[in-house]
Symmetry: C2
DNA sequence: ATTTTTAAGTGACAAATGTCCTTTCACCAG
DNA sequence: CTGGTGAAAGGACATTTGTCACTTAAAAAT
């Protein structure tokens, strides 16, 4: 029988008993959203973080000239939120939108803290996840500084082959920090 | 009377009693290094993290074509180490060198964990520091993707006016992800 | 003080990438 | 099926940035 995707994800860090997982899961609520709808708008207070069961989203910021920078994508089994706003209870500076119809599990700030306190393995899972996020961010910055547009693009395709055919090129471009046209030119060859 | 720089730094997060600070400080050892010497070489195991009392350092990686990317600078009251190697006990992929004669306070992995366990405020200080590091990294990535060389340079000068006249331009360039010549051109105007 | 070494500034040119505009293609609603 | 809408491709040209070669200035060593 199929294990729950969230359980699988947590257990990639540490195993849980059935009771523990059921208890954890009981703190989440399900959210469904249509394609193109917003999960978070700039200026919102962000009370939850989300685990993606189905669909695909992106978080992004818009600069004063209207240009967008995609900060993160999230598809099945990824977490997404506006970290700074969620952690510090300040208005979001990053928006999150659905690129497809989505089904998410939402966990509130309070319940997150509660689970962390009550279930040591969950706390550990969060710490590991946070550290991996930091390292990934480092790698992305390094590639951004040392790599050409081509290298960054190839790295993206290699790292996320499933996203590459699922997400509009415009957004991939804004994630990589290049124009959409440059992406086109790259795989012409 | 003058407070210790490390104490000042920790107390920007939470106040300590004299006893607490003395106890914390007793776990550090002093390290002195000459200009141009290496604190960490690629491949080293990294047993300590360092608080800068005097001098200036940089951490950097070198790519296969010999080009360098400066990952971080650290001057007085900054921490520096090779985070991933230090945390995971793996060989360093980033080197650290002194740009000036340096005087550092070194804290071992074990003592760091010990202090975290014994002094709740120290643990908290580490958590806050880590989170600030994450947010700073986000900002840097965003500027890297959205900003021109000029914007990145101006941001650097504005953010670190003291470093700008203290560090060779070559290194500032490798921190910003541009060539040294581009830096020259920028402040010609 | 003099030499030697290292960092920085400069100009000319090449390469990468951005911008703008037009065309093509795929998909969806009616 | 059809018209419309949005995404992607492609070409032409502008701009930014990199590269290389050389000069100048500053700093370190003797």
């Amino acid at each position: 029988m199929m294990s729950h995707p969230l359980r699988t994800h947590i257990e990639s860090v540490s195993k849980l008993t059935d009771e523990e997982f059921d208890y954890i899961l009981s703190h989440f609520t399900t959210v469904k959203l249509k394609k193109h709808s917003s999960l978070v708008r700039e200026g919102d207070l962000v009370k939850h973080e989300y685990f993606v069961l189905k669909g695909c989203l992106r978080s992004y910021v818009t600069d004063n000239t209207g240009k967008e920078f995609t900060y993160q994508f999230a598809a099945e089994t990824w977490w997404i939120s506006e970290r700074e706003a969620f952690m510090k209870h300040i208005p979001a500076s990053t928006a999150i939108e659905c690129l497809e119809d989505c089904q998410l599990l939402a966990l509130s700030y309070e319940d997150r803290a509660k689970l962390g306190r009550e279930i040591w393995k969950y706390e550990h899972y969060l710490a590991v996840k946070s550290n991996m996020g930091y390292v990934a961010l480092q790698k992305r910055l390094q590639l951004m500084i040392m790599g050409s547009a081509k290298e960054r693009f190839e790295n993206f395709v290699h790292q996320y082959p499933h996203l590459y055919n699922r997400i509009p090129k415009t957004h991939i471009a804004s994630y990589l920090g290049v124009s959409r046209e440059t992406i086109s030119r790259l795989y012409r060859k």
